[in-house]
């Protein structure tokens, strides 16, 4: 019991000791654990900051990758503003927390352009103890493309630049990769005078293709999308037309699909519309006549033909005459084909005829591209024997030519007396087959030949004609000395195009400009000398166009047209006398007019 009692006595207070030991050990243990928890807390913050820093850097890299290559290369990334525009605003780094370096791949010194860019983004942050930590991510970015157009415009079937078959397929072809980034392609057809004569659009995103324009869009499996429209040249005359296709990108995406979009690519082709064959000529006169022989022999019989000009006069190649007939003895005359040397001819004098024969004429106009029109209805006449009633028509008194290049002016004196003379015929060929003009006797005795060409030599002749109703009497021809139209040295012009900066308030801002040159002497537009400025640099250095020496001296007009992405916003005309000392034409867009 005593032992028990001692044990009991010694065990008293043990709980207190155990408790104290426990408290001490616990204190030591907890004391040891405190740094662990502190470290855990710090590590947690560091990890979180590192994740945020890594994400911020990766986000910046993704944004940088989406920038146009040149913008990526040209931007000064040491600028805090440039960096701030890239970095996620949620990124909580402080001070110089982000660093972006963009440098070309170093091994490209021997190439005309860098192969790709090395891109590095460093995000940096400061921990609570002042320790600076950072994350650096590196990648490379490749320049995709030389900046060449991938939008190609063409027409088919096409015959050496001529659209002859209507409808013609107007096709815009685009790389599939670009087509996916394109919202729509706008087509325009321009006449030579600068007016838009037709336009249409095709939407390129898949839903629109399926909904609206499926017949127009197709992918042939060759990496391209083809946007084809059978074009019918609605109400258009033959002539030269410019076709323009402009691609509009998906981004930026305005709320209204009709809002302006900057062009991402464009293509242009010039075609000659030649859908109409020359019209069927209508012969208005088929009349026999006579002319004294210049050698004093018997009267020379003739048949004069007059017909109306072809409606399709823009591209006449030549007029063809098919002659057949019956001789005075009843035998058939051999068929004869006559191709007139003057393509604008509306008169012909057939001097290869005999008295008593009956002649049947048919005319046909062939255009410059070889399209033959319909033959006219046949017109016939009999060459009678010259009667004694035929009065002698006196020839003109004198004939003088003067060259006002490229035209030649003729002046003659009327015969005295000139009674009975109805008109004068002007010939340019000594065969006296094609009068290039007839001048009424009531008008001044002069004519200006505007069909003459530089470098050519012409012999002009003039006759007087007395129209007796059923028969003509023509005088002996008076010829002028051969005259040459000298070719002057060609000259060029320099056109600069820019836009004022700032523009007047409220002025639409042009996206591009077009310059067309027109001869005020001939009215001819020069389609091959049309220049587009698709990326007009507003308020900056002007775009300069040197035409090269392609124009003859004369009066010209520079027509500059400015466009927004939805239409024309200004047209400026600059007439000038073009010669070797002509001053440049400076076109400055000052707002709509």
């Amino acid at each position: 019991m005593g032992a028990m009692g001692r044990r009991d006595g010694t065990q008293r207070g043990l709980t207190m000791v155990e408790l104290l030991v426990t408290i001490v050990l616990s204190g030591l243990f907890f004391a040891a654990m405190v740094p662990v928890f502190v470290m855990a807390s710090q590590q947690g913050q560091t990890d979180r900051a590192r994740v945020l820093g890594t994400n911020a850097a990766q986000s910046a890299i993704e944004i940088l990758r989406d920038l146009p290559y040149d913008d990526l290369y040209d931007t000064n990334w040491e600028s805090p503003g440039a960096v701030a525009s890239i970095v996620d605003p949620q990124w909580k780094g402080s001070g110089s927390d982000t660093e972006i370096t963009v440098e070309p791949y170093p091994a490209d010194a021997d190439k005309g352009r860098e192969r790709y860019l090395n891109l590095s983004v460093t995000t940096r942050w400061t921990e609570w103890k002042g320790r600076v930590r950072e994350v650096t991510l590196r990648t490379a970015v490749y320049r995709q493309g030389l900046g060449t157009h991938t939008l190609v415009l063409y027409a088919y079937p096409l015959d050496s630049g001529y659209i002859r078959q209507i409808p013609v397929n107007i096709v815009a072809r685009m790389d599939a990769a670009d087509a996916y980034a394109t919202r729509r392609i706008d087509f325009e057809v321009w006449a030579n005078n600068g007016t838009v004569v037709d336009q249409w659009s095709v939407y390129t995103d898949q839903s629109d293709i399926e909904r609206d324009t499926a017949p127009w869009a197709e992918q042939h499996g060759d990496g391209y999308w083809y946007y084809t429209k059978p074009w019918t040249a609605p109400n258009l005359l033959d002539g030269t037309y410019t076709f323009i296709a402009t691609a509009r990108p998906i981004d930026p995406t305005p709320a209204d699909p009709n809002d302006p979009l900057p062009p991402s690519d464009w293509a242009r082709k010039v075609y000659i519309l030649d859908q109409n064959v020359p019209a069927k000529p209508v012969v208005s006169e088929c009349k026999p006549g006579f002319q004294p022989s210049s050698s004093g022999g018997p009267l020379v019989p003739q048949v004069s033909l007059v017909w109306t000009d072809s409606e399709n006069t823009s591209d006449v190649g030549h007029v063809e005459i098919l002659r057949s007939g019956v001789a005075a003895d009843g035998s058939l005359l051999a068929t004869k084909t006559i191709v007139l040397p003057f393509k604008w001819a509306t008169h012909y004098v057939d001097r290869d005829v005999d008295v008593g024969d009956t002649y049947l004429y048919k005319l046909m106009v062939e255009d410059a591209q070889g399209q033959r029109g319909e033959w006219s209805d046949g017109t016939s006449c009999i060459v009678p024997s010259p009667g004694a009633e035929l009065a002698v028509v006196l020839p003109v008194g004198s004939l003088v030519t003067s060259v006002a290049a490229p035209s030649v002016k003729l002046t003659w004196t009327k015969p005295t007396p000139s009674t009975g003379i109805d008109y004068y015929r002007v010939y340019r060929d000594t065969a006296l087959s094609v009068p290039i003009a007839t001048v009424s006797a009531s008008l001044p005795a002069e004519y200006t030949d505007t069909f003459s060409e530089y470098g050519s030599t012409y012999t002009y002749l003039v006759t007087a004609v007395d129209d007796l109703g059923s028969i003509l009497v023509e005088s002996v021809a008076l010829a002028a000395a051969p005259v040459m139209v000298p070719e002057p040295p060609k000259v060029g012009m320099r056109v600069t195009v820019s836009a004022a900066s700032p523009l007047p308030p409220g002025s639409p801002v042009p996206a591009y400009a077009r310059v067309v040159i027109q001869s005020l002497d001939t009215g001819y537009f020069y389609p091959q000398n049309t220049v587009d400025y698709p990326k007009l640099r507003l308020g900056k250095k002007a775009d300069v166009w040197n035409t090269g020496d392609v124009f003859y001296p004369g009066r010209y007009q520079v027509i500059a047209m400015f466009y927004t992405n939805t239409g024309r916003c200004g047209t400026y005309n600059f007439p000038l006398q073009l010669d070797a000392s002509a001053t440049p034409v400076n076109v400055v867009y000052m707002g709509p007019n």
């Binding site: 050990l25 947690g44 990766q58 991510l137 490379a140 490749y142 995709q144 050496s160 630049g161 990769a177």
Partner: protein, 375 residues
């Protein structure tokens, strides 16, 4: 009271054990979190390296497309751009802790990884391949695959014109050895008529003209309509980027393919020194002499493709033959028995001949499960 003796110790031990477990768990969680952060950073880094590899591969594919003659191998990128791997701190390979693997596959359906390493398409190359890149940084891998498209320069040449001269066309051939300008067409139906466009004079009748229309409709096309200033500028840029732009007489080898020579007016560039044909009908070339330099043809040279000069072209000796088209802004003096034969099939192939770019095909970019062994 006796029953509660030692309870404090037991409680202490229990608390100690619980706290120990919690501590171990905390440390483990911390370690895992740190490991995860580290892995995430490594994965992001690997992702960027893989993207860089894709971009650099596209550049290399632009310089040399992966075709049957130039298949892509796993060492192609590192062979052709030796500095790339060290730049990103990786070694070639698929499984190393810091490694990079890049491969190219034909765009066939089915098992892409079993496809040929070049643009094959069952023998009909279509300009599309897959590029597959896997980067591993600190043992963490990221893999990207995308389809890329070959983009070639479109010349948009006018068809049907065999010779354009801004100046005169001259020939002094004699007898039966007439200079020959004509057309040769390999299609069914025989040669189609072609045109010559001579803005100056055709000063000799010693030229034979098989299938040639000497008088196309007026007005005669200008050079700009045949080959535009933009095209010339683009071709020059392309030549500069491929090392084919010269300001001197190129060697015969350098004159093949797309070659631009830019020399001052008065300089003569000779094309007369090679027995083998320059280029081929299947792979035509382009020779442009800019700056007003004169091109002199000679020998028995055969050139397949387009020849353009801002100056004149003359023939010094021999029987040089051009299959394709000549555009000459000055005089074209065809002395001797030179031949220019229009080959539309040759010119048509120009449009697919010179690669200018390799583009990503939208919607084909994928991040994939990394490979653990070579496919």
């Amino acid at each position: 009271m006796r029953g509660s003796r030692g309870a404090a110790l037991i409680a202490f031990l229990g608390i100690m054990i619980a706290l120990s477990i919690m501590s171990v768990a905390l440390v483990t969680v911390l370690a895992n979190a740190q490991h995860s952060t580290s892995r995430e950073k490594s994965r992001t880094t690997a992702f960027d390296v893989a993207e860089a590899a894709i971009d650099v591969s596209m550049q290399l594919l632009t310089e040399q497309w992966a075709d049957a003659e130039h298949p892509w191998s796993e060492s192609t990128l590192f062979d052709r751009d030796p500095g790339f791997a060290s730049q990103f701190g990786v070694q070639p390979g698929l499984t190393g802790d810091n490694s990079l693997w890049v491969s190219v596959f034909d765009d066939v359906s089915g098992d892409i990884l079993a496809a040929p390493h070049f643009d094959d398409n069952a023998g009909q190359p279509n300009g599309y391949v897959w590029v597959d890149a896997q980067a591993r940084v600190n043992g963490v891998a990221s893999r990207i695959r995308t389809m890329v498209q070959r983009e070639t320069y479109e010349f948009g040449m006018a068809k049907g014109i065999v010779v354009y001269a801004g100046g005169n066309l001259i020939s002094n051939a004699v007898g039966e050895n007439k200079t020959n300008i004509g057309a040769q067409d390999v299609t069914v139906g025989g040669p189609q008529p072609v045109s010559i466009v001579i803005h100056g004079d055709i000063s000799s009748d010693t030229v034979a003209w098989p299938y040639v229309d000497q008088h196309p409709p007026e007005p005669l096309p200008e050079r700009e309509e045949l080959i535009s200033d933009q095209t010339i500028e683009d071709i020059t840029l392309y030549a500069q980027s491929t090392g084919k732009y010269f300001t001197r007489q190129p060697t015969p080898q350098e004159l093949t393919g797309l070659c631009v020579v830019d020399v001052p007016s008065g300089t003569v560039i000779r094309l007369d020194q090679q027995q083998e044909p320059y280029n081929s009908i299947a792979h035509p070339g382009v020779l442009m002499v800019l700056g007003g330099g004169a091109l002199k043809l000679g020998g028995n040279v055969v050139y397949n493709g387009l020849v353009y000069t801002e100056g004149s072209i003359s023939v010094s000796h021999g029987t040089p033959t051009i299959y394709g088209m000549i555009i000459c802004e000055g005089d074209f003096d065809m002395g001797g028995v030179a031949q220019v034969i229009y080959r539309e099939d040759c010119l048509a192939r120009l449009d697919k001949q010179f690669q200018t770019n390799t583009k990503l095909v939208p919607n084909f970019w994928r991040e994939l499960t990394p490979l653990t062994s070579a496919p």
